[in-house]
């Protein structure tokens, strides 16, 4: 694969991982499940 395609793959997965990491790090900071 070309360098550009590999870079795209790596960057996109980093974006997703960063997004998930942010979301999961926030769990419990505001909402509670039970009423």
């Amino acid at each position: 694969m070309s360098v550009a395609a590999i870079l795209t793959t790596v960057i996109m997965w980093l974006v997703f991982i960063a997004g998930f990491a942010f979301c999961f790090s926030r769990i419990g900071k505001g909402g509670k499940w039970e009423d």
């Binding site: 550009a4 979301c23 505001g30």
Partner: protein, 506 residues
């Protein structure tokens, strides 16, 4: 509108998120997204796609979850709560959802039919299979007629698999959100596992790297092309299962003190990560087909989910050097599982929950009625002319219906209910607080984006030229689209006019 009894609840937050992810992930993630990425600049396409997700997809999802949680009702009850004159705007997406699930389950029935056909690769192996895949689908499976105006007879094998699909949907939804969440864990993770298997198979085929080059190589000059932004925003509009009433209901099952925004972010990211991942499985196989058949990428890849699923991928299965039958079975099972959670989302969140709320029907009764009527309506798509009607109704509901009702909902919520009020409501209990920018996204950006897509991708194409070249008597494909859309709008006002005083749910 009936007064709500104690609202049913998701058993846990993860189960709610799994159910929402399952509803969002469908065939479009596997076929449409990878194709658009290849078509519109490879990696460059991912930039407007991510921007569209953040400024349009996530706020729209927060709106639907948040309004559902605020009113503790499904779509019609929410809009009635905003103002009695708006209840129809809650019913319109309900009819949209009904239309979509009526044909979506037929596509799943085709997938089940192919699971059986795959055991002996009934369309052929090797070069014979490559030539036989399309005729097998059109002639053996569909027995397709000459046009939309020629319905012909029912295809009984498809009718049988359609009935089976609806029985599965009924068994999942008749006990409500508690069971739906538990089932969704499986219907989300099984397709993920199957996609991993298909990816491994794809990557080990000759030519796979060539396909991935087409998928990912960036062409940043495309970013100045309006069509690329249109494609990215339209993909976001279609991929999250918004505008179909169901997410309002799913939001209404969320506990009053539970998070909204973080769940919307996780659902959206998971949906989009699945799309990106599926692209590797698809384009590694596309590269293999290009090499095996000696054809350019344009002759292999297309944005049609049905065409790629039932005409193109079977060719790849035929040409594979080994394990053709196994890959065929796994692939079509993957399609079925990708579809089933979208189907029970549309059926339950989209239609059954609103019917229960309005008419105070028991869940079992409402589920039975909806499943039976949707099955009967779905029979039209099992006729010899069914494929043409799937295409027209898909254009009506999953394009026009979804976008128009979505845009109107954002406008009424943003300006009528108040975007700031919604923001304050979700911020009270959410893990991620949204700022005042959210208000403007809901009031202007999201509806403008949806209207942009419906005008550029819809009216500008279907008004000057008849959609799909279809003709039913003197009516063209476009006429039929406007008629169905108009009928659903009228029905929405009829349902608004019906007075009820029952108590919903159980």
């Amino acid at each position: 509108m009936a007064k709500a009894a104690v609202r049913e609840r998701w058993a846990s937050r993860p189960l709610f998120i799994f159910a929402a992810i399952g509803s969002a992930i469908g065939l479009g993630n596997v076929w449409r997204f990878p194709y658009l990425t290849y078509e519109y600049g490879g990696a460059a396409f991912l930039i407007p796609w991510i921007i569209g997700l953040i400024i349009m997809g996530v706020p729209w999802m927060v709106l639907e979850f948040g309004m559902g949680r605020f009113f503790q009702k499904s779509a019609p009850g929410i809009f009635e709560g905003i103002g009695k004159k708006w209840e129809w705007l809650g019913w319109w997406p309900v009819f949209v959802a009904f239309l979509i699930v009526s044909y979506y389950t037929v596509v799943m029935a085709w997938a089940l039919r192919y699971v059986i056909s795959s055991f002996n690769v009934a369309w052929g192996v090797g070069a014979a299979g490559a030539e036989g895949a399309v005729p097998y689908y059109l002639e053996n499976v569909l027995n397709i007629s000459d046009g939309a105006g020629v319905l012909g007879g029912l295809q009984w094998s498809i009718v049988g698999f359609l009935a089976l699909t609806w029985i599965v949907v009924f068994l999942i939804v008749f006990k409500g959100a508690g069971v739906i969440g538990k089932v969704a864990v499986w219907t989300v993770t099984i397709p993920w596992a199957l996609l991993v298997i298909l990816l491994i198979r794809g990557l080990t085929l000759p030519g796979a790297v060539t396909g991935l080059e087409y998928y990912l190589s960036p062409d940043f000059s495309q970013l100045t092309n309006v069509e690329v932004w249109f494609a990215a925003f339209s993909q976001i509009a279609f991929t999250l299962s918004l505008g179909m009433a169901g997410m309002f209901a799913y939001g209404s099952f969320v506990a009053k003190k539970a998070d909204i925004t973080n769940s919307a972010f996780i659902t959206s990211f998971a949906n989009c990560a699945t799309s990106f991942f599926a692209g590797f499985a698809v384009f590694s196989t596309v590269g293999f087909m290009m090499q095996a058949l000696g054809v350019p990428v344009g002759e292999v890849a297309s944005g049609s989910s049905i065409g790629m699923s039932f005409m193109t991928y079977p060719v790849a299965i035929s040409m594979m050097p080994a394990a053709n039958a196994l890959i065929g079975v796994l692939f079509f099972l993957c399609l079925f599982f990708l579809g089933i959670d979208s189907a029970f989302f549309l059926a339950y969140g989209g239609v059954i929950a609103p019917v229960m709320d309005k008419f105070g029907m028991s869940r079992v009764k409402a589920t039975t009625w909806v499943c039976v009527i949707a099955f009967l309506v779905g029979l039209i798509y099992t006729t010899q002319g069914g494929l043409y009607w799937v295409d027209m109704v898909d254009r009506t509901a999953a394009f026009y219906g979804l976008l128009i009702t979505g845009a109107l909902a954002c406008i009424v919520v943003g300006w009528g209910f108040g975007a700031a009020k919604l923001r304050e409501h979700v911020n009270e209990t959410s893990d991620i607080k949204v700022g005042a920018w959210f208000d403007w996204l809901i009031k202007i950006v999201v509806p403008a984006g949806l209207v942009f897509v419906v005008i550029v991708g819809g009216f500008m194409e279907d008004v000057p030229e008849a959609y799909g070249g279809y003709a039913v008597g003197t009516l063209s494909g476009s006429h039929i689209i406007w008629i169905i859309l108009g009928v659903t709008l009228v029905l929405s006002f009829v349902f608004q006019a019906i007075k009820t005083k029952g108590v919903s749910g159980e």
